[in-house]
């Protein structure tokens, strides 16, 4: 298994906008990764570039930077921030950092719910 796993989920924002949720999962035993792990890292083949992407997961800033650049063709790109959501257990804000569409604006905070599937430990799945 590669050190970095990317999972893609089809989701909707709380206001009903369809998007793709790109979850970063670090698979090493100690949670540490090295720059060379980027060399064999590819976005999921099922990416739909006509839609927006929310990138989420605990990872070094350089991994986010790589993914943001790789996702440039998407309609828009946002980064999840757990500090910006509603007071429900899976709600957070996705900050739009790039956009090619009028659907969303740069700096806009999209209210999103984290996909249930990413909670493997707290739900026992």
């Amino acid at each position: 298994m590669s050190a970095i796993q990317l999972q893609l989920f089809r989701e909707q924002t709380q206001s009903g906008l369809t998007y793709q949720h790109l979850h970063i999962q670090i698979n090493t035993q100690d949670g540490l990764i090295v720059p060379a792990d980027l060399k064999n890292l590819f976005l999921p083949e099922e990416m739909v570039w006509s839609q927006g992407v929310v990138i989420e997961g605990k990872a070094p800033i350089w991994l986010y930077a790589y993914l943001v650049h790789a996702c440039h063709p998407a309609a828009w790109v946002a980064c999840f921030d757990p500090r910006l959501g509603e007071p429900t257990p899976q709600s957070g804000g996705a900050v739009v950092i790039a956009t090619h569409t009028r659907e969303v604006a740069l700096g806009e905070v999209l209210k999103v719910n984290l996909p249930a599937a990413i909670f493997r430990k707290t739900t026992g799945t």
């Binding site: 035993q29 007071p87 257990p89």
Partner: protein, 310 residues
């Protein structure tokens, strides 16, 4: 909020980083309003400095929310290559390239050679308030204006970060911490993993000490001997413990190379009592609850500030 105020939240400066491969153009990010999460509206207002040359490489450097960093990556997309300064590893990590001599995932060693700043180890028994104290100290030290960059390095395998103390959604914070922890002490290969883990964190503290003005090192809840390489990279220590029996073991771990700054006997009640000031500060204090950025006792803050002038 008007444009000027928004722009005042973030300062972008063109500097340079010296590396083993040459000197590289660097875009340094400085958050002016460190006291709170900056407003996301700032993304629409940010302008790259006029002197940033996008026909050259761009290295991004500094502490900032992921989404601000990500936006700057987007704004620099036309540069021949982009790297991020990974301060803990003392490396530049290449994240995009249009030239044949540099590849994505390349790591370029950075040459700093600055005088290392002080590093304060923060130890104590589990659930005594180490992480809350670390974050509160960072916040209050920077608020004094007496110190530039304070970095909290968490040398433990739990899933916490500064974000965990800045969000109102406590349920989500708790879930994310659990999801992102790597419980090495329960792993079948724990005997191999734990020493390597602390060697990595020892190196990280050593590197951070050349980048910032003060490093606070949260070392987790047990004074194991495996932490010796990490201890060696620190200069001072603070013990915060709700268990009196645990305090001598922490002194033992840090003695004689680290200078004791304070012992905080952590209690659940709201209480603040000074037990001694010499040879190190010893207090009883009960303010270390999760979920909000706390104040720290003035006497402790003054005590910590002394290390900057030693």
């Amino acid at each position: 909020m008007n444009t000027i105020t928004l722009q005042k939240q973030v300062e972008l400066q063109v500097t340079e980083l010296k590396t083993e491969m040459g000197i590289y153009q660097t875009l340094a990010i400085n958050l002016v309003m460190f006291r709170e999460l900056i407003k996301t509206d700032v993304l629409a207002q940010i302008k790259l400095p006029d002197e940033l040359d996008l026909s050259r490489e761009v290295i991004l450097d500094g502490q900032a929310p992921t989404w601000l960093y990500a936006n700057l990556v987007e704004r620099c997309w036309q540069a021949p290559w982009i790297g991020c300064h990974a301060a803990k590893e003392k490396l530049i990590v290449v994240i995009q390239t249009r030239i044949s001599t540099i590849s994505i995932g390349d790591a370029i060693p950075v040459l700093l050679n600055r005088t290392p700043c002080p590093a304060i180890l923060i130890g104590g028994s589990p659930d005594s308030g180490k992480s809350v104290l670390s974050n509160a100290l960072r916040f209050n030290l920077m608020k004094t204006g007496a110190v530039g960059r304070v970095f909290v390095h968490r040398a433990s395998w739990d899933g916490e970060g500064n974000w965990a103390y800045e969000g109102a959604n406590r349920d989500l914070v708790k879930k994310l911490i659990v999801e992102n922890e790597f419980r090495l002490h329960e792993h079948p290969e724990t005997a191999k993993l734990i020493p390597n883990f602390f060697k990595y964190h020892s190196s990280a503290v050593q590197n951070l000490r050349e980048v910032v003005d003060l490093v606070l090192v949260d070392v987790g809840g047990k004074p194991q001997t495996e932490k010796a390489p990490l201890v060696e990279q620190c200069t001072h220590y603070i013990i915060i413990s709700k268990e009196s029996d645990a305090i001598p073991k922490w002194h033992e771990l840090c003695h004689p190379n680290l200078q004791p700054l304070a012992v905080i006997r952590s209690v659940r009640q709201k209480r603040e009592e000074v037990l001694q000031k010499q040879p190190f500060l010893e207090i009883i204090d009960g303010r270390w609850r999760e979920g909000e950025i706390q104040s720290v006792p003035d006497i402790l803050l003054e005590n910590v500030l002394t290390v900057l002038h030693a």
